[in-house]
C-alpha cells in the first residue's frame, strides 16, 4: 500500500490524504445549518439492488418498494414523523420525496439514503421516479461548485450537504 504517493507529489498535489471542509456542513456553513440543520449523505450498497438499477424486478422491489431516508427516532419525533411516513427532504440545491425509515443506528444530526432511485416497476404498478425535484435522485441535492465540491484527483462531487426534513403526502 502506497500511503505516500510520490506521483501526486511530483504533479504538485499533496502526497498524503488531506482533510478539508465539504461545501456544506454543520461546521463549514453554520449560518446555512439554521435553515438546513441535518447532514445528508448517501450510500451505494443495498441488500437487494445493484447501483442504480434492478428496481424493475418485482421480487426485489417488493423487499424495498420505495426509497427510504434513514432518520434517528429522536430527529423524526421532533418533526412528527413516524416510520413509513412520506417526507420531503430539502437541501439548498433541490428536494426529494421519500419514505422515512426510523433507524436507531444513525447519528441524530444525520440522515442517509440509498442513491440511484429512478426506475419504476411495471409489475407492481410503480412509475418511474422524477429525476429532478420531487423524485428520489440524491445527486441533485449536492453542491456542484467547482471551487468546493470536487477534489482535483476524484471525479465525483462531495456527496454531503445540509437538509431539512418534513412530513408530506405521497402525492403532495
Amino acid at each position: 500500500v502506497a500511503l505516500y504517493n510520490t506521483t501526486f507529489e511530483a504533479a504538485g498535489f499533496s502526497p498524503l490524504p488531506q482533510w478539508r471542509e465539504p461545501p456544506e456542513s454543520l461546521t463549514a456553513t453554520p449560518a446555512l445549518a439554521k435553515t438546513y440543520p441535518l447532514m445528508l449523505s448517501d450510500y451505494h450498497t443495498s441488500k437487494v439492488f445493484t447501483a442504480g438499477w434492478q428496481r424493475n424486478i418485482p421480487q426485489l422491489r417488493a423487499m424495498q418498494p420505495d426509497p427510504v431516508l434513514h432518520i434517528h427516532p429522536k430527529t423524526a419525533g421532533e418533526r412528527g414523523i413516524q416510520d413509513g411516513d412520506w417526507v420531503e427532504v430539502e437541501s439548498p440545491h433541490g428536494w426529494l420525496r421519500v419514505r422515512a425509515e426510523i433507524y436507531p443506528g444513525i447519528r441524530p444530526d444525520t440522515v442517509m439514503m440509498l442513491h440511484g432511485w429512478w426506475q419504476g416497476c411495471q409489475a407492481m404498478g410503480k412509475d418511474d421516479l422524477p429525476l429532478l425535484d420531487g423524485g428520489a435522485n440524491v445527486n441533485l441535492m449536492y453542491s456542484v461548485d467547482p471551487e468546493k465540491a470536487f477534489d482535483p484527483l476524484v471525479t465525483a462531487m462531495c456527496s454531503q450537504t445540509l437538509v431539512q426534513v418534513r412530513r408530506c403526502s405521497e402525492d403532495n
Binding site: K47, R61, A62, M63, H72, G105, R107
Partner: protein, 178 residues
C-alpha cells in the same frame, strides 16, 4: 449440521421445525428470495421475510436479525381460530397446513397469528410456508430457504417440542419489543 437439529427417526416429543441463529445471519435476504423464486409467490406475498430488531440508544445501539416464516407452532392459534377447520396441525410431521378448498378467506387466522404470517393473494385464500413439505418427504431435502442460506443461520429438521415452544416464546418477545 447444527446440534439443535436432528435428522434421525422422529421421537414422540419431536416434530419438524425451523431453527434460526441470529448471530450467523448476514441479512442477505437469500432465504426470502429463494422462497419467492422457488415457490413462485406473487411479488407482494412473502412466506418468509427478514426483519430487524434494534435495541439500545445511539451510540450504544445494536441490531439483530430475524428470519421469519410460519413457525408451525406446537399449539397453533390459527387452527383454533379458523371457523372452517381449514387449518390442520399435521400429526405426522408437525407442519401447520392449510386446505385451500376449505378456506373462505375470512382472515381470522391472521388476527390469531402472533407472527403475522398468513398471506392473502389474488385468490383471497390463505397461503403461507408449508416447510416445502411434502416435497421434502423424508427430511433429506431441505426447504428452499434453508438450502439457500449461505451461513447456515437457518436450519430445519426434527426438533424437541419443548425447544420449539421456547423458540416461539422468544420470537413473540422479540417482535413485541420492536
Amino acid at each position: 449440521m447444527n446440534e439443535n437439529i436432528q435428522k434421525d427417526v422422529r421421537k414422540m416429543s419431536q416434530e419438524y421445525g425451523f431453527y434460526f441463529e441470529p448471530e450467523k445471519c448476514i441479512q442477505c435476504h437469500a432465504c426470502q428470495a429463494a422462497c419467492k423464486s422457488w415457490r413462485l409467490t406473487e411479488p407482494e406475498i412473502d412466506w418468509r421475510w427478514v426483519q430487524t430488531v434494534w435495541s439500545g440508544d445511539y451510540p450504544d445501539v445494536s441490531l439483530a436479525s430475524l428470519s421469519i416464516s410460519c413457525q408451525h407452532c406446537v399449539q397453533p392459534e390459527c387452527v383454533d381460530a379458523c371457523p372452517e377447520d381449514a387449518i390442520e396441525k399435521r400429526a405426522e410431521d408437525g407442519v401447520v397446513a392449510v386446505d385451500p378448498q376449505r378456506c373462505i378467506g375470512c382472515q381470522a387466522c391472521l388476527d390469531a397469528c402472533p407472527f403475522n404470517v398468513p398471506r392473502f393473494g389474488a385468490d383471497d385464500i390463505m397461503q403461507k410456508c408449508d416447510m416445502c413439505r411434502p416435497a421434502a418427504e423424508d427430511g433429506s431435502t431441505p426447504p428452499a430457504c434453508v438450502a439457500t442460506c449461505p451461513t447456515g443461520a437457518l436450519q430445519c429438521g426434527l426438533r424437541d417440542v419443548d425447544a420449539k415452544k421456547d423458540q416461539e416464546e422468544c420470537l413473540r418477545q422479540q417482535l413485541a419489543c420492536k
